[in-house]
Amino acid sequence: MTTMPETVVPDTGPADVPPVPSGGVRWALVDGWTLTRRAVAHWVRDPAPVVFSLVFGVLIVLMFGYLFGGAMRVPDGGEYREFLMPGMFTMTMLFGVGHTAQAVTADLDRGVIDRFRAMPMSSAAVLIGRAVADLLLSAVSLAVMVGVGLLVGWAATGSAGEFAAAIGLILLLRFALSWVGVYLGLVLTGPSAVFGAQTLEFPVAFLSSALVATGTMPAWLGVIADWNPLSSTATATRDLFGNPGVGGEAWVTQNAVLMAVVWPVALLLVFFPLSVHAFRGLRG
């Protein structure tokens, strides 16, 4: 080993390895952000998922806005399109669960996850990267939907502050649902299982006040729908946007803004640790 040629291997020899690996919350967030940027770089190289997501948002606003625009009765006599728009925004966030699950499953199939797992990184960072990237995409998608909504005649009559709060609640729900998607992507193996999970989004969406007022449902279904986290966000944002159809006597409906915070936080508290645990458990 005496004739070793000069190399570019830098001074960071084995002895320089930090004695304590860089775990902790700070690095989980920093590394998570690094991996968010990886996901964004993927979208730049291959924009198809972004395009689909944006087109889906536009289509759903136009379809529901025009197809059903005049067809339904709103409890306090408002226009159905006004009622529908916050529901559309909320429902689209739910449909993001399947996308997130799919992205996680696809990532696990890639060898690169093995490298991440063998590195001194927080186990949460890979998942945080995914959740934040999907949040960013949803924010863009939501902006486009709001824009299209405004173009087709939807209007928010609340203050700017209330408008911002409504957007915040929708994105909070999306972030919480991302962790449901992350968890499903980790525990469901194979694309067919993820497809099954996506199918389940429909009953969850329809059993809420996103599309119809829960008062028009059979009583017991109405109760379930009232307590659907989606309903809390839909109702709270209707309230904040100043759109019609907020009505409903149930406590959970009366306190929709509170519940639109409580539900996502509860989902996060359950699915974040479950996801991190499942990610660690990949060591078969």
Partner: protein, 324 residues
Amino acid sequence: MGASGDAVVVAGLRKRYGGKNGGGLDGVDLVVPHGTVCGLLGPNGAGKTTTVRILATLLRFDSGRALVAGFDVAERPDQVRARIGLVGQNPAVDEVLSGRRNLVLFGRLHHLGAAAARARAGDLLDRFGLSDAADKPVKHYSGGMRRRLDLAASMILSPAVLFLDEPTVGLDPRGRAEVWQAVRELVGRGTTVLLTTQHLDEADQLATRIALLDTGKVVAEGAPGELKARLGGDRVEFVVRDRSRVADAARAVARLGTAEPTADPDDRRVGVPVAAGATALVEAVRLLDAAGVAVDDLALRRPTLDEVFLHLTGRPADRVEVRK
């Protein structure tokens, strides 16, 4: 087990995969001293990848003990991860990103600053001959380029212990030589390497010691020379020019041997195990000359690891095709 101990210590490591007569590890014992290269050799399904994945904290095991860089793999995986590099059997790089973006990404995740990560990526791309393709997506890389990128990614910080799982599969001779050179340089800087391979010449080239793995167990262990010596040491071998003289030639050199000569009339090859190396070679020339037998390719040779392998496991080593 402190910094002065061995880089890798494995004792009684067992791992059963679920499923039918599932494979796994059946009590692997292995010690790799600091700064050495251990070649883990074995046929398909022997458990090489399983061993490496366990040591790299990617896989749980059922029982036994494994220490890497002084830390227990099961109890302190975080400490182990901070000290290892891994080149898995399948490239673990991002297919969508460019080679440069990959290395910068891994550099950032090793907590290098932005500028340091970029500089390090540039160095490594140069070092592995990837500069020309640095900004192309990895999915357009050849198998060899992908391997080299993978290797570069595991060397972002020179790791204390580097695991290489069949690192030169699919590489052309030049690519293999580059990988070997990179490994030697890392070893020169104090990195310990555990290398699995089916190329016996690769183990011969790089490894200080070799462990032979078969059906989840280490069946032989030692320096390459020691393993070869177990097959009875040197042999004098030659090819007889005239097919009809093969038997005469074998008879002529018989008294040199420590065992009966082998003679194969088909390829006219005669071999005899000898004790006294070079002297035996000179003596063989004299005896053949006296018997009037003309020969080609007269040589003293040591058994290859292929032969050791065949001898110890009863099967030839499965060779992996090198592409093209």
